[in-house]
């Protein structure tokens, strides 16, 4: 009986710890990893904007680039401190820590060459972007994957049903009932209040453990389905939007030296908002933006609806710029893409990114709200089961003690 109590308390506490881990540790780390990726991708897009605008780059663009690098560096330091030293995550953190200053150096060189009017600057920026796209972002992606796997593991631990404790509880209950039936036959005394109390306590403990675990599990499932999973889709959409913006900028940086960026734009925006329709202008629908919206809680939904509208505008700007470039009017393409006005692709993209950020904040809040209570529930389950088991033990001792005394 005490064994049942101990096991029940232990299993429920373990789950409570996993639930706490989800909220306080693995989810923030997983979100941090996503944020590292986003800062790096944003730095790449912003570096290209600043390069294209050269001397005309507004302070805001330069500040944004610096802020991205600072954020990435700060979050990398946090991730290094919070992940275990043996973890796979450390390896990717180290890779990123090593390459971040290299990348910044390449971007500086590109800018310096460009200001002197040397076409070499564009080649440098393409090299820097290639390092970001082919080495740093994949490392950040691996880091995010490691953290996401950790989060999934904690979810599974927290949501696991405490079968061992329940089986033991059932056995204890059966033993108690058998004991009373035997006593009934031997002593002809119908009920012992102690044993009856113990039976009731064990039954209550088993029910308490079962319903408590079930309730915590449904809370966790809720936080996962309405928090972590939509947040991941949203992060994905945000990254795709950013990367599309980078591809669009780099296409202009390349000035026709490469046609890989146009292909990249097509692939990324296809994943984000569905492939282009046969008319070459509209989108056939689908994509991660729509998917993120489908799973979004109320507050995020409005932001995502606005984001979808903004994407259509952005797509139109991009096509206009591509047409100008095609006709040989590079300057018009440049103005349409990175011009200072809010109408430029850059302006529309920034507004879109803000809406996605708004949606992400709303979803993060919703997640924390639904996951927070879970560890409390599981702690109560552990304490309740332990108290009831002790009560049951006391009942058994008293019940059996009286019968034994009668024998003397």
């Amino acid at each position: 009986m005490l064994a049942f109590g101990t096991l029940a308390a232990w299993q429920a506490t373990g789950r409570a710890r996993a639930a706490d881990q989800v909220v306080s540790h693995s989810q923030p780390l997983s979100q941090n990893a996503a944020e590292i990726y986003r800062s790096l991708a944003d730095a790449d897009a912003t570096a290209a904007s600043a390069f294209l605008l050269a001397g005309d780059a507004p302070q805001a663009v330069r500040d944004r680039y610096r802020a991205d690098l600072d954020t990435a560096a700060r979050l990398l330091a946090e991730a290094a401190a919070r992940t275990g030293s043996s973890s796979d995550a450390q390896q990717w953190v180290a890779t990123l820590n090593r390459q971040l200053p290299q990348y910044a150096g390449l971007v500086e060189t590109a800018g310096a060459d460009n200001r002197q009017g040397l076409p070499l600057g564009g080649a440098y920026l393409r090299y820097a972007s290639k390092q970001m796209q082919e080495s740093m972002l994949p490392a950040a992606e691996r880091l995010a994957a490691v953290e996401a796997a950790q989060l999934d593991g904690d979810y599974a631990d927290a949501g696991a049903f405490p079968w061992a404790a329940l089986v033991l509880g059932g056995l204890t209950l059966a033993a108690l009932i058998r004991c009373q039936v035997l006593l009934l036959r031997r002593t002809n005394r119908v009920f012992s209040p102690g044993l009856l109390g113990a039976t009731a306590a064990v039954l209550a403990a088993v029910l308490w453990l079962a319903t408590g675990s079930l309730s915590a599990r449904s809370d966790l499932t809720d936080s996962r389905e309405h928090g972590a999973v939509p947040l991941r889709t949203l992060d994905q959409a945000r990254i795709e939007a950013l990367q599309s913006h980078t591809a669009e900028n780099m296409d202009l940086v390349a000035r026709g030296a490469s046609d890989t960026y146009a292909a990249r734009w097509a692939a990324l925006t296809g994943a984000l908002a569905g492939p282009l329709a046969g008319d070459g202008g509209s989108r056939t629908g689908g994509g991660n933006l729509a998917l993120a919206r489908a799973g979004a809680p109320g507050e995020a939904d409005a932001a995502l609806a606005r984001a979808l509208d903004l994407f259509t505008t952005w797509d139109g700007r991009h096509q206009a710029a591509a047409k100008s470039n095609e006709q040989g009017d590079y300057d018009a393409a440049l103005r349409t893409t990175v011009g200072a006005s809010d109408d430029s692709a850059e302006g529309v993209f920034t507004a879109l990114d803000q809406q996605l950020a708004r949606a992400a904040t709303a979803e993060q809040t919703a997640f924390t709200r639904s996951a927070k209570g879970t560890d409390g529930v599981l702690d109560a389950v552990a304490a309740g089961a332990a108290v009831l088991a002790v009560l049951a033990a006391v009942g058994v001792i008293r019940g059996l003690g009286r019968r034994l005394a009668e024998y003397r």
């Binding site: 460009n114 040397l118 076409p119 090299y127 026709g256 490469s258 590079y330």
Partner: protein, 303 residues
């Protein structure tokens, strides 16, 4: 007028003496290993081009006149040849001047040009699909390319040269390549050349644009770049710590590429080239863009 006639004879006659023509001309400057490659690359196909003619009644020329603008495939990344000046936002350079001369001749206005940037590897495709009327983009005339496109008469004598960091103290091509990591642009003559004769290179890095080679060289990831003579000079002009090393190999000519069917345009462009040299346009453009990096005397490039 006799001057023009002589120049025309030179231009068109460059290959009339047969395949050995350009190769023989290259001998004094070419290195020992070069002649075989030179023949294979340039191969005397320069003489396949149409005779110069001022006639503008052909279908392609009429189409351009009707459109009112000449669509030219160019590069925006070849310093002093075809590049976008970030200060002015204009595409400038030797090749660009040439394209404007063609526009001026056919349309009466050097500004009636639409410049469309074309990556090195897409030059042939851009012509075949008719995205551009012609390509003026440091393009070497080769027999292999003649299978897909038509070329004008040569407008610049070129070849391949090695660019290396000054610190490497390279004195000849073999030394600069043997056991070294070389870099070439995809689909370039340099790539074809190293495929024929690797010169003992340890590794050949293929990139999209020859400028990517200069980046890799500055970062110490490759030891040498093999590229067109013209572009080698452009690299050295952008980075004083690299230099052109060894002599020129694989002597060849640059030409304006056009669609095979557009024989009327080829003939008209050849006439423009004759006039361009005769009226001093060629020399003025050379002095403005190239004299500083390729030498004050253009005689070598007029062969």
């Amino acid at each position: 007028m006799t001057g023009v006639a002589v120049l025309a004879a030179w231009l068109i006659g460059a290959g009339t003496s047969g395949a050995v023509g350009p190769a023989t001309a290259a001998q004094p400057r070419a290195e020992a290993a070069a002649p075989q490659s030179a023949q294979d690359l340039a191969g005397g196909c320069e003489d396949r081009t149409a005779a110069p003619s001022p006639n503008e009644s052909g279908p392609k020329v009429r189409q351009i006149k009707q459109r009112g603008t000449l669509i030219v495939g160019v590069d925006q990344n070849s310093y002093h040849w075809g590049y976008r000046n970030p200060q002015t936002g204009r595409i400038e350079g030797f090749d660009i001047d040439l394209a404007r001369a063609v526009a001026k001749a056919i349309l009466g206005d050097p500004d009636k040009v639409t410049f469309r940037t074309v990556p090195t590897a897409k030059r042939i495709e851009a012509i075949k699909t008719g995205q551009v009327d012609l390509i003026a983009r440091t393009m070497t005339i080769t027999c292999e390319r003649w299978q897909d496109v038509a070329f004008s008469a040569p407008y610049f004598a070129s070849g391949q040269r090695l660019v290396v960091p000054r610190a490497a103290k390279v004195t000849n091509l073999e030394q600069g390549l043997k056991g070294k990591r070389a870099c070439v642009a995809d689909q370039s003559s340099s790539q074809a050349l190293l495929k024929q004769n690797p010169y003992g290179t340890a590794d050949v890095k293929v990139v999209e644009n020859q400028l990517d080679c200069l980046v890799l060289m500055q970062l110490g990831q490759v030891d040498a770049t093999l590229t067109d003579t013209a572009l080698a000079a452009a690299q050295a002009a952008q980075d004083p710590t690299v230099e052109q090393a060894g002599g020129q190999i694989a002597f060849a000519h640059m030409g304006i590429a056009m669609k095979k069917e557009d024989t009327d345009l080829v003939a008209r462009v050849n006439q423009v080239l004759v006039d361009y040299r005769a009226n001093g346009g060629w020399r003025a453009s050379y002095d403005h863009w190239l004299a500083a990096s390729m030498g004050a005397d253009p005689a070598d490039y007029l062969r």
